[in-house]
Symmetry: C2
Subunit: 479 residues, 2 copies
């Protein structure tokens, strides 16, 4: 239990949160299992209809949903409006991909008597849904990574029944959203078990280890994600666990960028760092600069807005304190406290101290805290990039005609899922080319993404049909 | 150690097999790490050249290699000649895919100020190699799933350095093949660490848990694969472990097929069952028929050829004996013993007994043993298919105008990676549409394949470049 309570160290355990009973969970899992076949046999167009129906229902319920979210998460209204827009757009993007066929990739190899390994039979590959998926909702995106967030939508698009474990940070919003989803899916004829919400740590652990659950998606902390990953892979029948975990999202400021527009870069960095009180997985927590002292002198820290809940505040203060007490790390700037009593902080350190203690590159403080690391040479910068753990993003701030920046971009690409040029990592576009992922500890499955329509591949399993007559082939494989 | 010795229960532990020393292993891993960047930056054309160079070298060494393989594995010359042809063809297939761009998928989303979630930056996704890969060679395909088999070739094609753990079943062949590979790669200018062979259980365990190894591929038994999977996922930094494990590859004979051509089906099944002394991962170990007694009466079992080694014989005899002693299972046909003293065997059971003991569907006897299960109704057949564990393949033997066969094909697709119609599962074509994989226990990663050019995706990680100037973009992402 301790391990799992740690799993939600980024939340306020709410003692009054109801826990789905074993009986109710059994009903949910049995229904999900029963829904797997009808969903697998539904047409992509029917699944597109379903996603659009839910999107429309959420759009129609916008005032109620945003008000609930604002009450439970303390996020500003404008941010929540934008996030709901993003969530609806995301569902419609998957629907569009289902309609145009791009999300159901097929490959046909016709029979070939002269094939290099002997006569080749007719072989046609399509994808099928992997089966019921368990989604762990995140605290920091109450719409876009929660009940009907990217994991749920991509799994439904693939034809998988979805069981969502509600995040205790926004229980009423979760329930209301789930009711909208369930009603909309039911109205388009989806089976009962296509979607369900469960609550509580124990119920989610039981679900994760139940043979009827065939894959899982998670967004949250490294510690919490690791505990659940360990459960998933230690099952008698291990399953894929797609966890989006931790990242310090390093930013490299080249000497040329610093010389050309140092103050603007510092200002841009702070803007990205404190956006949403720093509660983003793409928060740029580490910046590598040629002159740490001058850079931090250019930093002006605003008071952060309210954080998601007291548990997050507490976790942030502890993590920032831990970061500040590391060898060689000093507090460079401390802003005014926000409404929760927490202040944004910028620490400074030398790249030499980072190389002596690379663990610094794993200390994600979930909130508005950043570490400025000063490098004394290009080789020292390269040495730091060489020990970088896996990251969701890496950013290069480049000057005009800046060969080092191009080299840094290539070096960052060895460790991150997305490399950003002269921009900031917060704000993750939902589009086909998006890649939101990266090597451990950024994620548990670096070959996949959790944002963008390519996220569907996590829930699809290829199947090849050999020598089938047209009448018995799935529709998409017929000539 | 015991767990790992079990891992190679399908081999003869050869006490004289050398074990790579810790010092040599350190050299191998350091070189692999050092080779990762130059390989990642090599062009697809350069990697194609390298694969073709190795293919040519193996082809040139054909007489020596086949003679060594025949001596160490007891497989017939014709089979080994064909397998080497397949191995060379496979390398050339990946080379062709690298040259035509199909193995380096990209996606470009141009900037769009009117995008649904706010202005979209220019976002371009490509794939990068995941890093050094550890490959565990298999015993039963001394060329195609061994030193330069599908895992090694697909990983090199992706740009990953490869460390192969030699299978002790063919040590001299492994060493000679590795020398050919190393020399050919060196001749085209690949770095030293691009490829290496290691030997021994302990060395491979150390390599699998070393942070410089970024993914692993395995072909072998469920028990052995599970032990290694557990090591890979319990690392401080878990890695993907692509294991191709166990499968009984069920065949369903419909009543129509039975009525139309029962004897031919029985003969075809036996041919597939005893092919290569049954030492294939796609060996059709279970056949579901309307009349088990009549079916087994039509079975004529030849004496098997020599098996790979005494350990395989011993394992087969024990597994067949275990199968024969299960509740309701009776020995129906026993053939003449082959040169090793092992005889092919066919057992019979009722589908009702299978439903009472579904564990029967997991008892893979690696060798020429099959289980004939008689179903008394279509519903009973459906019930058996419903409890089927994950499989590499499933086969339907259909009659003319046979709606049940089409339904069975769709039901099999829920559990297997490849569904075969009126043919047999042994013989796995190397082609782009191939899918050699399936849900646990067939594999550890059902979203991937280990045969066919799509196998490359196991070793590729997507990276998106946001807002990059053309001069800093990877070549394949430039306009």
């Amino acid at each position: 239990m301790d391990a799992h309570r740690d799993a939600h160290a980024d939340t306020t355990p709410d003692e009054t949160t109801p826990e789905t009973t074993p009986e109710d969970l059994e009903h949910v899992l049995a229904a999900a299992r029963a829904a797997a076949r009808p969903l697998a046999r539904s047409t992509p167009a029917a699944r597109a209809d379903a996603l659009e129906a839910v999107a429309g229902a959420l759009e129609a319920a916008r005032p109620e949903l945003v008000a609930l979210a604002a009450h439970e998460t303390h996020l500003p209204q404008a941010r929540l409006e934008g996030e709901l827009t993003r969530t609806v757009f995301q569902a419609r993007s998957f629907a569009a991909g289902l309609r145009d066929g791009s999300l159901t990739p097929t490959r046909v190899d016709h029979a070939d008597p002269d094939w290099g390994t002997g006569p080749r039979p007719d072989l046609r590959r399509t994808v099928v849904p992997i089966g019921p998926v368990l989604v762990f909702a995140a605290s920091n995106f109450p719409f876009a990574f929660s009940v009907f967030g990217g994991d749920s939508v991509s799994a439904l698009a693939a034809g998988c029944p979805v069981v969502v474990k509600a995040h205790p940070g926004h229980p009423r919003l979760s329930l209301t959203t789930a009711q909208q989803v369930t009603a909309a899916l039911s109205a388009v004829g989806f089976p009962d078990g296509a979607f369900a919400l469960i609550e509580g740590v124990e119920a989610s652990r039981r679900a994760l280890t139940d043979p009827r659950i065939r894959a899982a998606g998670f967004t949250g902390s490294v510690r919490g994600g690791r505990a659940l990953f360990d459960l998933a892979v230690s099952r008698p029948d291990p399953i894929s666990f797609h966890g989006e975990l931790g990242s310090v999202n390093p930013v490299v400021v080249t000497p040329a960028a610093w010389a050309e527009r140092g103050a603007a870069v510092a200002e841009g960095w702070v803007g990205s760092l404190v956006l949403g009180a720093g509660q983003f997985c793409t928060n740029p927590g580490v910046v590598l600069v040629p002159d740490a002292e001058a850079f931090t002198a250019a930093v002006d820290l605003p008071a952060p807005g309210p954080m998601l809940n007291p548990g997050i505040v507490e976790g942030f203060v502890a993590a920032a304190s831990d970061l500040g007490s590391q060898p060689g790390v000093r507090t460079a700037v401390e802003g005014e406290a926000g409404p929760d009593g927490a202040a944004a902080r910028v620490f400074a350190v030398s790249a030499a101290d980072v190389l002596a203690n690379p663990h610094l590159l794993e200390l994600e403080a979930f909130g508005p805290a950043g570490l400025v690391a000063g490098y004394s040479s290009e080789d020292e910068l390269r040495a730091v990039l060489d020990v970088l753990p896996g990251q969701l993003t890496g950013t290069v701030q480049a000057g005009t005609d800046d060969p080092l920046a191009a080299e840094v971009g290539a070096l960052l690409a060895e460790h991150v899922g997305r490399v950003v040029w002269n921009d900031w990592p917060t704000g993750v576009t939902v589009s086909p080319a998006q890649q939101h992922g990266g090597p451990w500890p950024a994620t548990t499955t670096p070959t996949t993404t959790s944002v963008g329509t390519a996220a569907i591949t996590r829930w699809q399993r290829p199947v090849a049909f050999q020598g089938f007559p047209a009448t018995a082939l799935p529709d998409e494989l017929k000539d």
